[in-house]
Amino acid sequence: MLNNRNRGRLSRFGRRFMQRRESCPCASGDCLSLTDLPSGEKAIITCNKHLLIIERGLYQGMTLTMHRNDSDEPNVIVAVGDARYVLDRRIAREIRVKIV
């Protein structure tokens, strides 16, 4: 059986072989999708590919606080710095964060 380190190496080789870009600089299990971040939790953004959202201040390394995340609602509310954003769940799902 492969350990985590070698599994990572193999997947990086596969990615390079298939000429795909690296998805996220975050080991599996360390990060979670922004939609999975419970209300009130603080997290650091580890991966965000939406330029529009990055330009709003949700860039890699920025700390955010989840203000509201009800699974039956189509949006989440996050606090980023001094701004409060309503984010579509479809976008939030693609943003990876790490709880701090």
Partner: protein, 729 residues
């Protein structure tokens, strides 16, 4: 510098650009506490020390990447018009995010001046900014400004004068070494391609001016290379195939080096610069970021009471509009009637003017003025309520609450804001759809805006509501507003399943902090809208009343006995059979004419009815204090069922000429015709269904089945069109 310099106001949405524009130019543009108040650029003049300066208010943008149409307006103005000075208005309470646009403007090499607004909120949030230090890092002047009614503009005007005469070049932003290397290569390729003509702004170039200009041109060239890395379509299209290949190679190298999309690399590095800058110049006195707005949002956006609060607020708006205006309507109406109809009529009789001229001036025009006067109270109160909602910051929260329903009808929650603006007027509501990123959402939202009863429909509801349902007028009016919303939702559901099958665009919106609305701002906001309404409606109503009076006088011989019948009566009678299924009898031709006049402006319906129902059977029989036209209307409609059907028709049928023109301007002839035809057909079907259900008789089944069949036909046709569209795309 131009002989008449141009200053552009640029900043993120909702930072106070329009407030500053109004202060500088003395204009009275609408301001509000929600992103998207300004959707097109506005220009005004101001004078500093005998020098005329043109000030341009641009829509709020987060960056210079062209997204929605309002962002494109701002970007193309900055890039193409090249203003002599850009005043970058920055929200001090949210400096980091606001500096992203500043950094892009710096990269552009534009002459800049920074104004920090919302300093009071920043202080309340425990932030203090070393502005001099910030300015030294940026390379241009930065100054704080308290944007209230006692705004001190002397420091700002001095800074503008200085910046115009001594333009400074901002600092250059550097990326990481590898990115810089590739950026340099792209720059070289594009310079060889001759993409950057050097435009001279100086009339008499000196050595210093030339050097500054060369530096500015270099910055602009660099900025264009950065935009190529970001994948800007406008600049990419200027490259030929060979150059494009070279540039693409460089961009791929950047992407490989950082393991990110090239656009994200640039954005990340810009934020890297901003973070360092903010750490250096901003001191946080409070570690916690929990603000007053967060505490209010905890309640207002709560899953349990958020929705009841939302409906409560909406009901309160209409309750205030109806209840508070009720006593004022009769007071204003009777005063204006006394002055412009009775007294003016008496004066003209004394002057021995011809009878027709006396009638035209006192009864027709004077009556028209009294009608417009009666509209003012309900519209004033609804505008006040909307202004409070907008200025307080609740508008964006309402969009969040409404998002759940909006998704169900195939629109993002942000589309709720144009719909809410529609309570004031449909024209700005259609314009406000420009804030939506997806073209599909913009067309879809524009089609639904007429379902929201605009301020002009309120006088019709109030007039007929009080006449037919004096004890429950407020409930009837609120019911009509709600019915419009329900019909809009049903139409949305249908269009989602037929014409607009694709998914709605993503919903990303900033929640602005709550502000306490000031009386001055509310009154200014209300006055601005009310003045527009009175002028626009006044002109249309008076014109419609004049035309109607002329058409009432001009007659044609009809029938075997060649009895002369007024042209208006003939036209009305020709149309009335179409309205018979919704309870408009053939003798009630005045109602048909009123509906036609409503196509010019909805407010004209009341004026037309008051004018046309002056003569009739009830006039001689009833001796009560009720006005003659009111008694005639009651007699002509016969029952409350036909009055309700008529009100529903007014609510749903084609929007006014101004709104149709705006639809044509924004989305083209096809969508304008669709909206006109669909809404008029829907209004007829729904009004017929309501009347035939309320006044059920043996023939009702036939009409109900006809309506259902007609609707099914529309649905099937729209579904086929939608299917063809999907296949084609």
């Amino acid at each position: 510098m131009r002989a008449k310099p141009i200053i552009a106001l640029v900043g993120n949405p909702n930072v106070g650009k329009t407030t500053l524009f109004n202060a500088l130019t003395g204009a009275r543009q609408t301001v509000g506490n929600w992103p998207g108040v300004t959707v097109e650029h506005k220009s005004g003049m101001c004078r500093f020390h005998d020098r005329q300066i043109e000030v341009i208010d641009l829509p709020g943008v987060y960056s210079l990447s062209s997204g929605s149409p309002d962002e494109q307006v701002a970007r193309s103005y900055i890039l193409n018009e090249k203003p002599d000075l850009i005043i970058n208005i920055v929200d001090a309470s949210n400096l980091e995010r606001n500096l992203y646009l500043t950094v892009q403007l710096m990269e552009l090499g534009a002459p800049l001046l920074m104004v920090l607004s919302m300093n009071d909120i920043a202080e309340a949030n425990g932030l203090s900014i070393d502005i001099e230090h910030l300015a030294s890092h940026l390379g241009f002047t930065a100054l704080p400004l308290v944007m209230n009614k006692q705004m001190d503009l002397s420091v700002l005007t001095a800074a503008i004068e200085h910046s115009l005469t001594h333009p400074t070049n901002p600092q250059c932003i550097y990326y990481d070494e590898i990115v810089e290397k590739h950026l340099d290569n792209i720059l070289r390729t594009t310079v060889e391609a001759g993409m950057y003509p050097l435009a001279s702004r100086t009339e008499s170039p000196t050595k210093v001016a030339l050097a500054e200009e060369a530096y500015s041109a270099l910055l602009q060239n660099r900025w264009m290379a950065v935009k190529l890395i970001e994948g800007d379509k406008e600049y990419s299209s200027k490259l030929n195939a060979e150059q494009k290949e070279t540039v693409d190679k460089e961009i791929l190298a950047i992407s490989k080096h950082r393991g990110q999309e090239p656009g994200a690399v640039i954005a990340d590095d810009r934020y890297g610069f901003i973070r360092g800058l903010v750490k250096d110049v901003v001191k946080r006195h409070r570690v916690g970021q929990w603000t007053f707005s967060d505490a209010v949002d905890k309640v207002v956006l709560s899953g349990f009471i958020g929705l009841p609060i939302f409906f409560g607020v909406m009901y309160l708006v209409f309750l205030v509009a109806v209840k508070a205006s009720e006593p004022l309507i009769s007071l204003i109406s009777s005063s204006l009637t006394w002055l412009f109809v009775d007294k003016l009529g008496a004066l003209l009789t004394l002057l021995s003017l011809p009878k027709w001229l006396n009638y035209l001036l006192s009864d027709a025009l004077g009556g028209g003025v009294a009608t417009i006067g009666a509209f003012i109270p309900p519209i004033f109160f609804i505008y006040v309520s909307l202004s409070i909602l907008e200025d307080s910051g609740y508008m964006a929260r309402a969009a969040f609450i409404a998002d759940k329903f909006m998704r169900k009808i195939g629109l993002p929650g942000k589309a709720f804001i144009p719909l809410l603006v529609g309570f004031g007027c449909t024209v700005p509501a259609i314009m406000a759809t420009r804030t939506l990123e997806s073209p599909r959402d913009r067309v879809f939202a524009s089609i639904l805006t007429p379902f929201i009863s605009c301020g002009a429909k309120l006088p019709v509801y109030t007039f007929l509501g009080i006449l037919f349902f004096p004890k429950h007028a407020d409930l009837v009016i609120f019911g009509l507003y709600m019915f419009g919303i329900v019909m809009g939702m049903l139409t949305g559901l249908m269009l989602k399943k037929t014409l607009f099958k694709s998914e709605p665009g993503n919903f990303v919106m900033e929640l602005p902090p709550y502000h306490m609305p000031t009386l001055n701002a509310i009154m200014l906001h209300t006055w601005h809208r009310l003045k527009d309404f009175v002028l626009r409606a006044g002109k249309t109503i008076l014109l419609v009343i004049m035309i109607i009076n002329v058409l009432q006088v001009v007659s044609l011989p009809v029938g075997k006995d060649h009895q002369r019948v007024p042209l208006l009566k003939l036209g009305g009678k020709a149309l009335t059979p179409l309205l018979a299924p919704m309870g408009i009898e053939s003798s009630n031709w005045q109602a048909s004419v009123a509906l036609i006049s409503g196509l010019f402006a909805k407010e004209a319906i009341v004026g037309t009815m008051q004018s046309l129902y002056q003569k009739g059977e009830a006039a001689e029989n009833d001796k009560s204090n009720t006005p003659v036209y009111a008694r005639n209307i009651k007699t002509s409609f016969g029952s409350s069922a036909s009055a309700i059907a008529f009100l529903v028709f007014v609510l749903l049928y084609s929007p006014c000429a101004a709104a149709l023109t705006m639809l044509f301007k924004e989305h083209g002839l096809k969508w304008m015709l669709f909206d006109f035809a669909y809404l008029t057909a829907l209004a007829w079907m729904v009004s017929t269904l309501i009347y035939q259900t309320l006044a059920f008789n043996s023939g009702s089944i036939y009409w109900i089945l006809s309506c259902v069949g007609f609707f099914a036909l529309i649905f099937v046709n729209l579904r086929n069109i939608g299917r063809k569209h999907v296949e084609q795309s």
